[in-house]
Symmetry: C2
Subunit: 404 residues, 2 copies
């Protein structure tokens, strides 16, 4: 496990540079059929636990699809996995990543439903950040013709989660209001777009000020991340909101419940507050994860309120709800084809740039989704640092030349 | 407040007889325009706190409708009110009752929307158990032509609650499964009927054995009240159910959450376990009400579960959601007119028989709704006891000759 201590930021930055310099050496050719490149997490901890290495080429078992990966999605959850700050973490070393897009290269024995060459989007229970992935049939979907690979990798987790929370857990209808933390993130942008498919839905969103210009059209009322959002929402809507989507957890649960109108629904779908900085001990964070305020059902009864938790990964990989997710994906692809929704891609990164990408999502520098582009070459190092074409600004990137 | 102690049952039975004998003397003529008969709760406590008395005739304020009451609904909640075992109980003496049906007799100044003589169903914030009721316009609905007054009084609370829980909180859809405690009660029967309007919904219900014959057609799987329902449901559906409707509270919250399938919803809509017997101190019960097991949002997140509370009275009278309820009532009346739903009336009682009616609901002797029929004369006393035509059997009535 990673070292604790206040020195970790410095150490981590050092590791980025050092490992960044090394990475170009460890890059292997994609042409070798017995091996493939993959991002490896050697143990739980800081960014220094990540590296790109060769791995044996996976072959599909019965019921599985082998995919030549083009793009992978990077989620806040991947940071929590890296820190081991999740419920029953798997053993390391492991290949992180839960979603990808690519081309079908082979099928397991007696496995039907896809043709070699099909363009697909897929969920994977780890192992997505690699050149080749094998995953069961039920987790693979043919992509719409117009969808790019980065879009597909940006689509799966965020849009499915946003859709299921809004329409299957919370029952979003005309005239309702929705509060979303991290309005600029992948889920936040998916939520905003899906809300716009229903008439007269008001979206309250929080985002760092530097993102406001870029996302202001997708959110009705945009607040700065650091303000007292409870007070601000109440100024505009004294009765509160119908749906609160919270990926922060901690004290925000109580605040979110307090903001609900009667029959409103609070949904906890993450706990990014538990990853407050590389400088903090993640043991203390794991502890606070379990110290979230508990809810009295009688209070819900008196106030006519609903509280829900939503974890797409558990739904898919622990609870076997692929069928329900498939139905949702079909509805979402239909909305995509009607041009009602479109994934926002923040930036594309080579596998070797995974640490910089993780730092960017950690710093909340992204607007929309970060994508690992498997075929991309790493941006060259200048004085042991990569020059990404966007300016670093108090830990945030002002803009991204890589955004689509 | 009522006396505590194990002797209360005996005392209460004594009071029923004594007061029963008195009641015929206190009955006043309905013809007197300055006064009306009403059930009065003189203080919180046992059945002996209830009596029928004269009260000043109420007159409608601006925005109110004056209704000549024909029938009133009796709910388990009325027992809890009688015991003072509710959140912020009002001051006594008071006239209990939250729903009635009748004929519009007058309207307040500048109040439009009804004609004198209209047959209406109404919600009232207390004061329903009387010959005449005034209530704001927003709580009054024109009844369907085919609906009887007892049906209307049996309809309002139970069907609106059942509908909102199933369709607005829990999002019931084809193929889902629902567990309802007290399947034989007013809400239970409404839930069963509404579930039958959606294809392939499985209803698991609990009821005392003597009710099984009468309600077996409305429930897919019927269990005896005293069995381990968690085990029985899991035998039939190992994955659990999609919706749990719990009016019992206490340890059933944990059991209900445990029985939920992924994305399932547990709804607490009452706490009848808190009224376990006239012999128990309701101070200790009020205490246990607040000691319901609390829920960790993180657990909901990991298990993809939803927990909700539903209180129709708070929604109507504290949270001002009349508009939403009106839409629901319209949908329900349409289902009634299509003969897809029909309130089950257990029995009709004179105002003077309110104690016996309450005892019956307390003993869970009812199948469907107990109705106070304002125009009904009390069943004559024989040896200081009323003879109701149904046999008393271990605290339950086997059947009711009064059922519609």
């Amino acid at each position: 496990m990673a070292k604790e201590g206040t020195e970790m930021t410095e150490e981590t930055e050092h590791m980025i540079e050092k490992n960044g310099a090394k990475e170009t050496e460890t890059v292997v050719s994609a042409g070798d059929a017995k091996e493939m490149r993959a991002v490896i997490l050697s143990g739980f901890g800081g960014l220094n636990k990540l590296r790109v290495t060769k791995k044996a080429m996976p072959e599909p078992q019965e019921g599985e699809v082998k995919i030549r990966v083009k793009a992978c999605g990077l989620n806040f959850l991947d940071l929590m996995v890296r820190q081991g700050n999740i419920d029953s973490p798997p053993k390391t070393p492991l290949v992180p990543g839960f979603e990808c897009s690519g081309i079908v290269e082979a099928m397991g024995e007696n496995t039907k439903g896809f043709e070699i060459g099909d363009r697909v989007m897929a969920f994977v229970n780890y192992n997505a950040w690699a050149e080749v992935v094998c995953t069961p049939l039920d987790y693979v979907y043919n992509m719409p013709d117009d969808m790019t690979f980065p879009e597909a990798a940006a689509f799966s987790m965020n849009f499915v989660a946003a859709y299921m929370m809004l329409f299957e857990v919370a029952n979003l209808r005309e005239g309702m209001s929705v509060l979303v933390h991290s309005a600029g993130g992948g889920v936040g942008q998916a939520v905003a777009q899906l809300c716009s498919t229903i008439p007269s839905v008001t979206v309250f969103g929080m985002a760092s000020s530097f993102k406001h210009e870029a996302i202001k059209d997708s959110v009705t009322h945009l607040f700065d991340r650091n303000i007292d959002y409870v007070q601000e929402v109440k100024k505009i809507s004294p009765e509160g909101v119908d749906i609160v989507l919270d990926c922060l957890s901690g004290e925000n649960t109580g605040k979110g419940l307090g903001l609900l109108r009667p029959l409103g629904t609070y949904i906890l779908y993450g706990s990014s507050n538990m990853v407050t900085g590389e400088t903090k001990s993640f043991f203390s964070l794991a502890k606070s994860w379990w110290q979230v305020e508990k809810v009295n059902p009688i209070k819900l009864y008196e106030e006519n309120k609903v509280i829900a938790g939503f974890s797409l990964l558990n739904l898919l990989f622990k609870q076997g709800r692929c069928g329900q997710v498939k139905t949702v994906v079909e509805k979402l692809f239909s909305l995509y084809n009607q041009k009602k929704i479109k994934p926002v891609v923040d930036s594309l990164w080579a596998l070797e740039e995974v640490k910089e990408a993780m730092q960017r999502i950690h710093d909340r520098g992204n607007i929309g989704k970060l994508i690992l582009d498997v075929e991309k070459s790493p941006t060259p190092l200048v004085n042991n640092r990569r020059i990404f074409g966007f300016e670093k600004h108090s830990g945030h990137s002002r803009d991204s030349c890589l955004r689509e």
